[in-house]
Each structure stands twice: as C-alpha cells, then as structure tokens.
C-alpha cells in the first residue's frame, strides 16, 4: 500500500481536509448534489452567488453548448440572502458541509449588506469563508464588472472585509478578461482579501446559425468548461509569479476553470493553486469533485509527494534553479 498523503490545506485560516470544492453556480446549494454524494466529504461546498434580493434570473434560452464547454446566461437566479441563510445555509450545516459562501451585489454597498446579513445568520458557524464574486459576466454592465477595475474591486473587498469577523477569510473571485490580472489581484489584497479565486467564466457569445441571432436570451454569456482550462492555468501562473517576485503579497489561490480530471487539477496546483473547484464537469459527472480529489491524490502519490501543499506552485522556477 502506498504511503498516505496529507491532502489537508489551510487557506488563510480556512482549514480543510482536502483541497476539492464545488464551484459557485455549478452545484446549486447542496440538496441536489447530495443525491449523488455526501457533500461533507468535500473540502468545502461553494454556494451559488447570492445577492440581497430574490432574483428570477434571465429568460431562456440560457445556455449554449460549445466545444469542451458551454456558455451560460443565467442572471444570478437565487433566493436573496435572507432566504438563503434561513433555508439553504441551515440545510448545508445540517448536512455537515464546510461552506464557502459566494456573494455579490449591484453596488459595493450591496456586497457589504449581503455580508452583514450572512454574519448575523443562525447557521453562520457552518461558514468557513466568503467568496466575493466581483467578476460575474452576467450582469448589466457586462464586460465592465468590478473585477475589471482595481479601484472598484478594492472598494468592494474593503467593505466586505470590514463587515465580516476576522476569522472568516475573504476570497476575491477574479475575471480573466483583464489586461493585467496581477494588478487586480494586488488591489484586492491591499484592500484586505485573504485569498483569491481564479478564474470566473470568460465573456463569450454564440450565434444560432438557423435563426441568425444570438443563441442565448442574454446575448452574451460566460464561457466555462475544459475549453477555458489553459486560461485558468495562465491566470494562476501570472498571479503566483507576481507573488514569487514580490510584486504583490503572498495569499492562497483557489484554482477554478475547466477542471475535469485529477491531472487537470494538478496543472492548476502546479501553477500555484492551493485548492481546486470543479464546476462545469459536475454537469457531466455529478460526483466529479470527489472523483477529482481521488485522482489528484493518486497522481501526487505516484509522483512521491508526502503533502498536497508541497505541489502548490511547483512548476514555477525554484530559487536554486535560477
């Protein structure tokens, strides 16, 4: 029998038994996937982004399949933070999940309001961290999401950080649709982000060639799936490199984008991710996050690692090699 590998991670104080998570918007709020596996076995369960008010989401069609991926234009359908905390979060706690709550707002103030309701909620002790979705492409201003501007990003992160207790790490979820992602990452860190989640979907579009019009009702949407994995690897690499070079502070990176297998996860880890979220692959295989954890564990074991954390960022040149 191969030696047991330590898969646990500590993400800015968020201690998890393994680095695998669901990805926001690809797992609803837990009940559905619990029909396929025990969500308490995940490193963390990442909830669907919740805003202050209930949202119907957009009309349909909301989806277009693309090569090795898909385009979605859901429009952040959800119950609003109050109902979320009273129903979904309470249920997640009862299921034994460690919950990373994804929040958003139309304004910086709304992000803080959502965080404030969350902080006061009865099941808040199930929350291990908060992911601040400043990069959903399915919002009114489309390409002009908070995460495209360092100042807007910093304002949101600062307000959320000061609203939440110190023991709850705040992760800024970044968009790859920017000129210099390390600059945005640095602005978020300076504003108080304890970690980063990279990457959100890419703004994209599909035309229906029968009807000669945009295929999704929202015209543009977010591209996800294995097709965008190389973009995620690149973004994580660039930000990790900026940390190694001392240009921005060192914080943990949660890698997300096109992970379908343990080998895919290892690419993101080697580029600098300390945890991995599995999103679109869940639509193909509902238990994919746990399968990826098994495959990643086996891959690291085979390569002789004793600890998962030893593999984080390992593809970067080490000082002794320079």
């Amino acid at each position: 029998m191969s030696p047991v590998i330590d898969m646990s991670v500590d993400l800015a104080g968020m201690r998890l038994p393994n680095p695998l998570m669901t990805a926001s918007g690809c797992a609803a709020n837990g009940r559905e996937l619990s029909r396929f596996f025990d969500i308490a076995e995940l490193g963390a369960f990442v909830t669907k982004t919740v805003l202050a008010q209930p949202r119907s989401g957009r009309g349909t069609p909301r989806m277009a399949e693309t090569p090795s991926g898909m385009l979605n234009s859901i429009g952040l359908q959800g119950p609003g933070i109050t109902e979320f905390t009273l129903r979904d979060l309470v249920w997640l706690k009862s299921a034994g999940a460690r919950v990373l709550v994804s929040i958003a707002g139309n304004t910086a103030g709304e992000f803080a309001d959502v965080a404030a309701v969350l902080r006061e909620s009865p099941a808040f002790d199930a929350v291990v961290g908060v992911e601040v979705n400043i990069s959903c492409p399915n919002v009114a201003n489309r390409g002009l999401v908070f995460a495209c501007d360092p100042l807007s990003s910093a304002k949101v992160i600062a307000l959320v950080r000061e609203t939440l207790p110190r023991g709850i790490p705040v992760f800024a979820k970044l968009s790859p649709d920017v000129t210099d992602i390390a600059e945005i990452a640095g602005a978020c860190e300076t504003a108080g982000a304890d970690g980063l989640t990279m990457i959100n979907t890419l703004l994209a579009m599909v035309i229906d060639t029968d009807l000669l019009r945009p295929q999704v009702g929202g015209v543009t949407g977010g591209l996800s799936g294995p097709a965008i994995r190389p973009v995620a690897v690149r973004a994580i690499w660039q930000v990790r490199a900026a940390m190694i070079e001392g240009r921005i502070p060192v914080v943990p990176i949660i890698g997300v984008g096109g992970v379908r297998t343990g080998d895919d996860a290892l690419q993101l880890v080697a580029a600098g991710a300390s945890a991995i979220q599995v999103g679109t692959a869940t639509f193909n295989d509902p238990a994919a996050p746990l399968r990826v954890n098994r495959e990643l564990t086996a891959a690291l074991q085979e390569k002789g690692f004793a600890r998962f954390t030893d593999a984080v960022g390992i593809a970067h040149p080490r000082p002794d090699q320079q």
């Binding site: 559905e32 949202r55 989401g57 069609p61 991926g69």
Partner: protein, 295 residues
Amino acid sequence: MRPATRERVPQVCGELVANRRVGAYHQLTFVAAEVAALARPGQFVALAVGGDTSATLLRRCFSIHKVSPGETNGDTVEIVVAAKGPGTAWLTDLRTPAEVSIIGPLGRGFPLPTEPVPCVLVGGGYGSAPLFWLAEVLRERGCHVELVLGAATRDQLFGVGQARRAADGVTVTTDDGSMGTKGWVSLVLPDVIRRSRADVVYGCGPMSMLRAVTEIAATEGAVAQVAVEESMACGIGVCMTCVMPVTGRDGVTRMARSCVEGPVFRGDRIRWEAFDDGRCQVPGDAYGAQAMVGH
C-alpha cells in the same frame, strides 16, 4: 417547489443491448436495473455522450419509454432518440455491445388519478415515447385510455402500432395527411375528450402543442398534465438553464427548473404567454423579476 426526494439517484454504466430504427427515430435499450427499479412514467434519464474524453460535456436527457424485466442481465430501460445533433447522432450510431453512463430516473413523473377516470394521452412526434407505459399504468388502475398521436408526417409518428395495444382508442393526425386525420392534434382533441368524457389530459411533445393541449383541456373541463421540453445542461437541478415560469399553489410565479420541479407540470400553471419565437421571457410579476430591472 423543492425536489421531491433527497434519496440517492443512481448513476450507472448502462449496457446497450438493442438499437433499433423505428421510423425517423432510434429505440435504444439499456440494461440498467437500478434505474428501472425506481422509474415511473414521465421521468427521464440523462445520458453522457461521446465517451469518457468527449468534448461534448453536457448530458442528453430522454424521457423513459419503458422499463422491462431483463432476460438474463437485469432489467432494462428504453429511450427513443431523434438524431438532431452530434450528441444524439453519437447515440443512434452506437452498436451493441456498448456502454453509456446513465443517470436516473430524474424529475417528477405524471401524477396518477386516485379514481379510475377516463384519460386522454396526447403525444407529438416522439414525445409520445413515455405515453404507452403511462397508458398501461392507467389501465391497470381501471382508467379508460384514449391516445392521440400527431406528427408532421407518417414517418415522424412514434408508436402507432403499440398504441393500439396500449389504449382503448387511438386517433392519429399528420400535418400532411400521410396517416390519419390531416392537421394538428388540436383539431381532433376536443372531440376525443368529449367522446371519452375525459377528466385528465396528459401531453408530451413540443411546447406549442402542450399549450394547445392545455387550452383545449381547460375548455373541455379537464385537467392537463404536460411533460415539458426545455434544453438542459445538467438534468439534476444544479445548472438553472431549464427554467420556465410556473405558478405555484401560492399563486406566485417562479422560474422553475423543469428537471427537478418538472418535467411534468399542470398545464394551467405554466405561463404560456411568456413563450414566443423560441424564447421565454420572465413575466414582470414573477418572483425576483423586480431585481432584474435594469439588468
């Protein structure tokens, strides 16, 4: 409007034991005992397509045509597939033996009447696939069952032969008159409902047909139960793509997921006026629609 059950849903490797061409369609039979054991008429299965490394990631969902006791290998599940795109063409091109990942049964099936009331079952194209099994179950309960099958052409009808065995009466329509009455099912449906004094009308097929079925049922004083067709990315309730505006018992319209809250809805609860030209808008009075203003 929560998923009906939190019990485990089987995810199995189904062995393809038959792939038969039936008119414009293919009828595929898989050994999938765990799925067969739980399935009810109106539920569906989600099949992965293209193999383990497929670039076509999203599962294809099919209503269950029937489940049968297996001869040697275990109980089987049958589906009817129209090769409309690369995913469905991959399935119809499969030859036995082959293995396909199957998740199911999924969704809420057709609700069954508690009394032995007369029922009319309406299928458009291969939307008729789940209705023969439903007819059997209803007749076991003492219901008089009429089947109405419609399609554009004779080739696109599905199951006319088995309809005669499964139902007490069968009416066929085709748009081009190549079989049965020339015209849509809506042309013959009022008379079938009246003649059979039906209390329930079940429908499965294109949305435009389901809307007509709902309206005719209402006019004739019957309840419509329709299995909807909306494109799904996951089939298990997590992606939020297959939504449509459905009014709940509380009178509030929500964008309901057809995969877990449906696929069968009471026809008069669907906000049909929101559908137009291949799109569906969110009604202004829907729950959470206000927050979308300016978005």
